[in-house]
């Protein structure tokens, strides 16, 4: 008898609730990191864990993202099938954006730059909360802007072509 709620299949398609679940874990971790503050060793360890999670999602793909693994192993089997599948590129891009902020936050911790730490982790938390609460993918919105910038000549041309 076939499984009533088959897991998403198809090249590059994922259950959109996976990244959202992952963003909830990320939000909790980053909140704790903020509360512990720069200089806290437990905070540094949590931040390292989150950075590695971003790195695996960004560099290895969403199937290797640990929070996604938790979702598929423990949460997904308890839910019904997703209403719609989603392409994996935008959430993967969002993981890269998260990675940049997390690495900046780590640098802030290591080099004792409190402002860099607060700003980086603060913005990463905003992005994760938007994803959790509103299913809004900040990285996905930046995707087209990134393409536009990449398509422009690297030097010289200011972004003055707005209508």
């Amino acid at each position: 008898m076939p499984h009533p709620n088959p897991a998403p299949t198809g090249p590059g398609l994922i259950d959109p609730r996976g990244p959202r679940f992952g963003a909830a874990i990320t939000s909790v971790l980053l909140t704790v990191v903020l509360i512990l503050g720069p200089g806290s060793v437990p905070g540094l360890i949590l931040l390292l864990v989150q950075t590695l999670a971003f790195a695996s999602g960004s560099l290895l793909g969403l199937q290797a993202q640990p929070w996604g693994l938790i979702y598929r192993r423990l949460v997904r089997p308890r839910l019904g099938a997703p209403a719609e599948l989603e392409a994996s590129e935008p959430p993967q891009f969002a993981q890269s954006v998260g990675l940049v902020f997390a690495v900046a936050g780590l640098a802030g911790w290591v080099f004792n730059l409190a402002l860099l730490f607060w700003l980086s982790i603060g913005f990463a938390l905003v992005a994760a909360l938007l994803n959790t609460l509103f299913d809004f993918c900040l990285g996905c919105e930046l995707y087209l802007l990134g393409k536009r910038l990449a398509a422009k000549p690297a030097i010289g041309q200011a972004d003055g072509a707005q209508s």
Partner: protein
């Protein structure tokens, strides 16, 4: 203690921005500057009454929902066409019309003049209202 305040500020910012987006996304807004787009540059024929030009990305969940809404509306209305463009392949149009997000929908009248702009997942009621104002056949 600083961290608690920053976490609260992040939460407030996320709620404000997300709430604002939830209110404004998918609304049809009138375009007053009235730039135009013809079939040659669009790369597809215009509808005799109106044309929806949708900018999508390969990777955009609300684009699919918008495509579905517009396909339905077009199927129910004569003389209206729906052109779904992959924004990455038409960066010239993206630059020209200042498209910053996908999905963005431009509603063209019979002459190709851009009359409405819908940013974010399009709402059916807004789409129909905008179309009524543009399409004389529907309005009549």
């Amino acid at each position: 203690m600083t961290g608690v305040w920053i976490a609260l500020a992040a939460l407030a910012l996320a709620l404000a921005f997300g709430g604002y987006r939830r209110l404004t996304d998918g609304r049809a807004r009138k375009v007053r500057t009235a730039p135009a787009l013809d079939a040659a540059r669009l790369g597809a024929p215009l509808g005799s009454q109106a044309t929806f030009v949708q900018f999508s990305a390969t990777v955009c969940a609300p684009c699919r929902a918008t495509h579905h809404v517009l396909s339905q509306v077009v199927a129910d209305t004569d003389g209206v066409r729906h052109v779904d463009i992959n924004a990455e392949t038409r960066l010239d149009l993206v630059e020209e019309f200042g498209i910053t997000r996908t999905p963005t929908v431009l509603l063209l009248d019979a002459d190709g003049v851009i009359r409405n702009r819908i940013v974010g997942a399009a709402r059916t009621s807004d789409v129909l209202n905008a179309l009524q104002q543009v399409d004389r056949a529907v309005a009549a």
